[in-house]
């Protein structure tokens, strides 16, 4: 563990999320409301530390924490956690945490394995207000897609028909959550990752589009969710298929995110 405050807060958030996952699992298995509340409190605590860690990193680096893959991953985790808290307040289904928490932990584990050095000076290409627009909106949209994937996983795990007394949310609620998350993330992704990215690329590199691996990855994500929405509108990808599609989306997003490490290109900021 590194010594800076933001890293300490990151690990505090990580352990709280991990603890909440264990309690969410117990809650899902036992149906105990007290355990569920305890898990939710731990999770909320994790979000507080996650937020504080990002704020600390912002303060230390003197720029918003979107410049490295580590920072991007932590922001994505923060978006997922915040979305879950909003969901929790809206639907009061604590058991969904048993899926959201591990998705979050996976993102945090990936973040923990990435270089965490703080650079006070952004490289010249990143010194643009488009950087904040592009990365913030892309992170929020990808966070929404991850939320959809989490709900998709619960949908598939849940299986069967809706039964009374099941601690997991009903299939209708889950399907609407997946649908809402994708329909929230999709326009943001197009605007933030593709449009804002293209305008910034024109300012920084002289062309809107370079078929850089990261750009192509973003296009693949956008096309994939375009297909999902078209199929959903046709009445084809509903229910289980929509849930499975949201999980495949997660795999594509992770491949695109980690592609920086081996595909290189203009976006190879580690």
């Amino acid at each position: 563990m590194s010594g800076t405050a933001d890293i300490t807060l990151f690990w505090a958030a990580f352990w709280l999320y991990l603890g909440s996952f264990v309690l969410f699992a117990v809650h899902a298995a036992s149906g105990s409301r007290r355990v569920g509340i305890a898990a939710s409190v731990l999770f909320a605590g994790g979000l507080v530390f996650n937020t504080a860690g990002l704020a600390a990193r912002w303060w230390i680096s003197t720029h918003p924490p979107f410049a490295t893959m580590y920072e991007y991953a932590v922001v994505m985790a923060w978006v997922i956690a915040l979305s879950f808290i909003i969901f929790l307040v809206r639907y009061r289904k604590m058991s969904i945490g048993v899926i959201v928490a591990p998705v979050l932990i996976i993102v945090m584990v990936i973040a923990s394995m990435l270089p965490k050095e703080v650079s006070k000076q952004l490289m010249p290409a990143l010194q643009s207000y488009w950087f904040y627009i592009h990365v913030t909106i892309a992170a929020v949209s990808e966070g929404a897609f991850l939320v959809a994937a989490g709900a998709g996983a619960i949908y598939l795990i849940r299986g069967g028909e809706d039964r009374g007394g099941c601690v997991l949310p009903s299939k209708d609620v889950l399907e609407e959550l997946i649908s809402r998350a994708i329909r929230f993330g999709y326009p943001l992704f197009l605007i933030g990752a593709l449009f804002a990215g293209a305008i910034w690329a024109r300012n920084a590199w002289g062309r809107f589009w370079s078929w850089d691996p990261k750009e192509t990855g973003a296009l693949v994500i956008a096309l994939y969710y375009t297909l999902v929405l078209h199929q959903n509108a046709r009445g084809r990808w509903r229910g289980r298929k929509l849930a499975a599609a949201s999980i495949i989306g997660l795999v594509i997003i992770l491949f695109s995110f980690l592609g920086n490490l081996f595909l290189g290109g203009l976006h190879a900021y580690i």
């Binding site: 490289m123 010249p124 300012n203 002289g206 691996p213 009445g235 084809r236």
Partner: protein
């Protein structure tokens, strides 16, 4: 509800359209597959393959190499097959827009009435409220029902009552932001309440935006140009056919206190064909110069080998004479004070490495700057290397105690990219359309309710909603409100 998500079953099947949703989905799948394949291929087939054909021929064999070159797998996004996929996407998008534009726009501005009353069922959840006698209304207040029963006809409510009920229903929906339209046909009425109709316009604008972006991209790639030119201070670069040139007045790398690069800046002056100054600017990363359709970007730089502005060395003559600092300029000889020697700077290597072929610079970075010193005087010529970072490591000159390489101002070549993209305005316009379209498409909650009043009952059916659960909540409230108001009306 039938297909949900804002479409009727008819629409979802694309019936009556040249390009169905199925065709659109298949086209998107093909484009998705092509992009994903190209994305992965770049990892397996290096872009420099055409320059290393022999190496890859030995590795993969003639046949495989021939296929790879034919399909341009090393640069898939500029291959004929990918262009074909893009063309297919363009044609399908264009046809989709042409064939659906009228419907999409008209639906945005008016709620469409159902052709026939919709029945409540599994596909169409809703509610029915009996009217007139069936609901126990007071006969004397309802002459149509009273006389209808007396003469054995179906009991129904009066035209006035129909109007009153329609008013209740309309109020319930308009209050919640729905637009409401109805058609009266004798004693029966059909009506439609729709919210979020702008999504249709958004759908059209978004797809039109994608089309404009595609056209902009094609225009840019066919008619645009891009070229990187390098120059040092004082050089003039020609970038336009009319004799306009760009003079480089300087290049600087701004560093932070921690020796991190803050910015790269090239100071330039644009000169017109007569040589007069037309514009002056500082070109930085993210801050290009835009001049009459040409954009000039700070693209790269390199440090010239064997070139420098000046170099400083400290010369330590034997015993009696004090050490002297000499500033050397390239190609000029300087006398060494107190001696009969002269010193000339030879080669300069920013990243010195001794190789089998002799000394050379292994990179353009100042990792190990080395200056060749040439001493002339009685006894002939002697030369050797001095190192900026390792002052004690250099050549020992017999006729001097030592020479130390103190400082150097290297020559930087700034790499400026000159681009002309006539498709850029289209591309930007397409993106603006896309953003507006997405906003309209996804920010409005699309809901459609159809219903009818046929004299004996009021039927209200939920036809379409993007979010079924929240719509169901609202629908329940609407049902309660309408039922309560009708009961109140009948009681009076």
């Amino acid at each position: 509800m039938d297909e949900g998500n804002g479409k009727t079953r008819e629409e979802n099947r694309g019936r009556g359209h040249l390009i169905s949703q199925r065709t659109a989905a298949v086209t998107i799948s093909i484009l998705l597959g092509a992009c994903a394949a190209g994305w992965i291929m770049t990892e397996f087939f290096p872009p420099d393959l055409p320059y290393r054909r022999e190496f890859f021929r030995k590795r993969w064999g003639d046949t495989a190499l021939s296929w790879i070159e034919t399909l341009k797998l090393y640069d898939p996004f500029h291959s004929f097959w990918f262009s074909g996929v893009l063309a297919l996407f363009f044609v399908v998008l264009l046809l989709c827009l042409i064939t659906r534009c009228k419907g999409m726009i008209s639906k945005s501005f008016r709620a469409t009435l159902p052709r026939k009353p919709v029945k409540v069922g599994q596909d169409h959840p809703g509610f029915e409220i009996p009217l007139g006698e069936a609901a126990g209304w007071k006969d004397e207040r309802d002459p149509v029902t009273h006389y209808g029963r007396k003469f054995g006809r179906a009991a129904s409510i009066s035209g006035e009552a129909v109007g009153g009920i329609l008013g209740i229903v309309k109020k319930a929906f308009i209050f919640r932001g729905y637009s409401f339209t109805s058609r009266r046909d004798g004693d029966s009425v059909v009506f439609a309440a729709v919210s979020g109709r702008w999504r249709y316009l958004g759908n059209f604008i978004f797809h039109a935006g994608l089309l404009v972006i595609t056209i902009g991209g094609v225009v840019g790639s066919r008619l645009g140009s891009s070229e990187i030119l390098y120059g040092k201070r004082g050089d003039t670069l020609s970038f336009s056919g009319d004799g306009t040139t760009l003079r480089i007045d300087g290049f600087r790398i701004l560093m932070t206190g921690r020796m991190q690069v803050r910015d790269y800046i090239t100071m330039v002056t644009v000169l017109d064909s007569s040589g007069a100054t037309a514009a002056a600017a500082e070109i930085k990363v993210n801050h290009p110069l835009r001049y009459e359709g040409t954009s000039v970007y700070q693209s790269s730089y390199y440090l010239a080998e064997d070139e420098f502005e000046w170099a400083r060395i400290m010369v330590f003559p034997p015993d009696t004479v004090a050490p002297a600092m000499l500033t050397l300029t390239q190609g000029l000889t300087e006398p060494v004070p107190g001696t009969e020697l002269t010193v000339t700077a030879g080669r300069f290597l920013p990243d010195f490495r001794m190789t089998e072929g002799g000394p050379r610079s292994v990179s353009g970075a100042m990792n190990n700057p080395a200056l060749e010193i040439i001493l002339d005087g009685p006894g002939g010529r002697m030369s050797g290397w001095t190192f900026l970072l390792f002052p004690d490591f250099g050549t020992k000159f017999r006729r001097l105690d030592s020479i130390k390489f103190e400082d150097i101002e290297p020559v930087y070549y700034s790499g400026l990219e000159f681009t002309r993209n006539p498709g850029a305005p289209l591309f930007l316009a397409g993106m603006i359309l896309g953003v507006v379209g997405l906003f309209l498409l996804y920010m409005f909650d699309y809901r459609v309710v159809h219903g009818s009043i046929d004299g004996t009952k009021l039927t209200v059916t939920a036809v379409t909603a993007r979010w079924k659960i929240s719509f169901a909540d609202q629908f329940e409230k609407i049902e309660r409100e309408i039922t309560g108001a009708i009961e109140k009306m009948s009681a009076n």
